[in-house]
């Protein structure tokens, strides 16, 4: 896999360049738009859930609490996951004309698009870091966030590759996935802390705990928000788990993408 990816890196970059160059080319504010949407969502959700539903955020590493910071930590992780999946799923269709006419590895436009999506995530992370700096919630446990986010990205990309080849064959996959992602969002402790579910329903808590995205989001909460150390084993598991899912997604994708020219 690595050899293959290395061989195709120029083409992956060429697609990334294309998507980067064209993403906001015809809009005036350009990349600023990529932050407007998550920040607006953050503001609305923070207002609704902390004021209306009175969700209590856990205590931060510096002893204070901030629901907005808690929410944004989870959102950044979730957006990384859902952003990569949503983008990957449509890539084969949107590059269909090309794939039908020229022979090249079909995963290259998918991965190229994802690279550009990572820039968006990086911008969100910068905002998150700024937020924590202002709140004075800083710690060495932040370093743990790097492998956790990398694990999340690979995990999401692996699933994205599988779903993208499925969507090329069955056009309704993308609609099913958007419904499922919507449901999964609420089964991930982004809007609420884990403790809140545990006090209300142990059955529901189990469901939330079985959701792999909960593991990534909780690990991010620990390292960025509460500044508690995540065990080395857990970080390693999240990273290796993500890589394994990516490998599986890559293998499955290549197995079924041989006839991509006819499928589209």
């Amino acid at each position: 896999m690595l050899k293959e990816l290395k061989k195709q890196h120029a083409l992956i970059w060429a697609f990334a360049n294309r998507d980067f160059a064209t993403r906001y080319r015809s809009s005036v504010l350009g990349w600023a738009w990529s932050l407007v949407q998550p920040l607006a969502t953050l503001a609305i959700f923070a207002a609704v859930f902390s004021i209306v539903f009175r969700v209590q955020a856990p205590v931060m590493g510096n002893g204070k609490t901030s629901y907005a910071a808690f929410l944004f930590t989870g959102m950044v992780t979730w957006n990384l996951f859902s952003g990569l999946i949503n983008l990957s799923i449509t890539q084969l269709k949107s590059n269909g004309e090309l794939l039908k006419k020229v022979q090249f590895p079909a995963y290259t436009p998918v991965l190229g698009a994802s690279i550009v999506q990572l820039i968006q995530v990086a911008l969100e992370i910068v905002v998150l870091l700024g937020m924590f700096l202002i709140l004075g919630n800083i710690g060495v446990t932040w370093l743990m966030a790097i492998p956790i986010l990398i694990g999340t990205a690979f995990f999401a990309q692996g699933i994205g590759l599988m779903l993208s080849i499925m969507n090329a064959r069955f056009g309704d996959v993308m609609y099913i996935v958007s419904v499922l992602l919507g449901a999964l969002y609420f089964l991930t402790p982004v809007l609420y802390p884990m403790s809140l579910v545990e006090t209300h329903s142990s059955a529901l808590a189990w469901v939330v705990k079985l959701n792999p995205m909960s593991w990534y989001v909780q690990a991010m909460h620990d390292s960025m928000y509460t500044l508690t150390a995540v065990s080395f084993l857990e970080v390693a598991a999240l990273l290796v788990g993500g890589l394994l899912v990516f490998w599986a997604g890559f293998v499955i994708f290549n197995r079924y993408s041989e006839d991509i020219g006819e499928m589209l």
Binding site: A10, A14, N17, T22, E97, L98, V102, Q103, D172, D259
Partner: protein, 406 residues
């Protein structure tokens, strides 16, 4: 290394009829696997050896499998059976500018397209200038291609594809791009690629073009190979089949004249009744072929004995001009006394000199003095002339001529 750039062995490609394909999960669930989808072999048992450095043509009807075969050679389709071995980089002119992104400039698209076609970044940088010059779009190269005209689009696409240093170039019906000047440039470039030992595989309906360009031609029909060989031979037998099929499909019904046409008209001793095209063997034709003798059969009814009628057949090209007028008096055929009754006049047009096109037939009959019109039938029939060789020619007729060099 093998002497063949591309070698296909018993290659076949099967498609499932698209109406039967379960394209959505709902259909799968609702209709299940159902009966086995209907199979359709687009290409069947095709074995070709395409020599390195040759220009190879593929001909056949629409849907004969030429493009499917080309896509298999290009690696876009996988053969259902058989194998295709090819050597070197294959670049495809199947769809020009397929990889262009409308928001990106011409220059950016050259880079992207080059990467997609598999050229290393460094080499792309080297040929970019050449591509810009070849396309003749230097002025516009830094504008987004969405502002390009369709002609500019294909010019850039062609320029990119031929500069990707392909060992095998696949060309599908794209030789008709751009204006006359650009087309010439394209052909010159194809010739220079051939001279450089590159292999070119062309699919085209321009038979004359193929004859001029190709070293070898293969003819496909319903997915199977019909004939491989010298371009002139293969094109001739292909055309023979096409023309025969056309005749079989809709033989020219005898053009019969309505009775009303006579009414109130000439109180004449002679009436033109019908016009027909036949082959020399007497089969009714719906078209004539350049260079092949055919016969006009004109049915006439005589109510009285007529002395030496002059039967004139005027042929008018569809675009308007009168091409020629054939007259038995001028050619020295005298029928003297023709008794009353039904007669058929047969006029052989020897080695049909008419070039491909549509022609209208007007028939006039005069008496022996040439002064009295006995009957006149305007637009009695209209018939197409087809090429027998793939050559279309210029003008309306091909006059018999001989050349000598002294």
């Amino acid at each position: 290394m093998s002497d063949y750039a591309v070698e296909s062995t018993n290659v076949g490609k099967r498609f499932m009829r698209s109406s039967e394909r379960r394209n959505s999960i709902k259909e799968r669930i609702v209709r299940g696997q159902g009966k086995r989808a209907e199979e359709f072999w687009a290409v069947k048992d095709v074995s070709l050896k395409i020599p390195r450095g040759s220009v190879y043509g593929l001909i056949g009807h629409n849907g004969s499998g030429k493009s499917t075969l080309l896509k298999m050679i290009g690696g876009i389709y996988r053969p259902t059976e058989g194998t295709i071995a090819s050597q070197g980089r294959i670049a495809s002119l199947i769809e020009l500018g397929a990889g262009f992104h409308p928001e990106m400039t011409g220059r950016e698209n050259i880079g992207l397209n080059g990467s997609i076609l598999g050229l290393p970044r460094k080499e792309i940088a080297e040929v970019t200038d050449e591509i810009i010059d070849f396309s003749g779009l230097r002025e516009f190269i830094d504008d987004p291609v969405k502002h390009y005209s369709s002609g500019m689009y294909v010019r850039l696409g062609f320029a990119v594809a031929v500069h990707m240093k392909p060992d095998v170039l696949l060309v599908d019906e794209v030789l008709a791009v751009g204006d006359e000047e650009f087309q010439r440039k394209c052909f010159d470039h194809l010739y220079s690629l051939r001279k450089a030992g590159k292999t070119i595989i062309v699919v085209s309906h321009g038979l004359g073009q193929l004859e001029a360009l190709c070293d070898e031609v293969a003819w496909l029909e319903r997915g199977s190979l019909q004939e491989i060989g010298e371009p002139t031979d293969v094109v001739a037998s292909y055309l023979k089949r096409v023309n025969a099929e056309e005749s079989a499909r809709n033989p020219l019904a005898e053009a019969k004249r309505e009775e009303q046409d006579h009414e109130g008209g000439l109180q004449s001793a002679l009436r033109l009744k019908s016009v027909q095209l036949t082959s020399t063997e007497g089969n009714v034709l719906n078209h004539a072929e350049t260079g092949t003798t055919f016969t006009f059969k004109i049915g006439v009814t005589l109510y009285d004995t007529v002395l030496g009628p002059n039967i004139r057949v005027a042929l008018q090209h569809e675009s308007g001009p009168l091409v020629t007028m054939i007259s038995n008096h001028r050619l020295g055929f005298d029928f003297s006394y023709v008794p009353a009754g039904e007669h058929t006049v047969e006029i052989d047009l020897l080695d049909n000199p008419l070039l491909p096109g549509r022609y209208r037939v007007h028939v006039d009959v005069f008496d022996h003095t040439g002064a009295k019109l006995l009957d006149s039938w305007n637009e009695a029939a209209e018939f197409p002339v087809r090429s027998g060789s793939g050559e279309i020619g210029q003008g309306f007729v091909q006059l018999p001529a001989e050349y000598r060099m002294n």
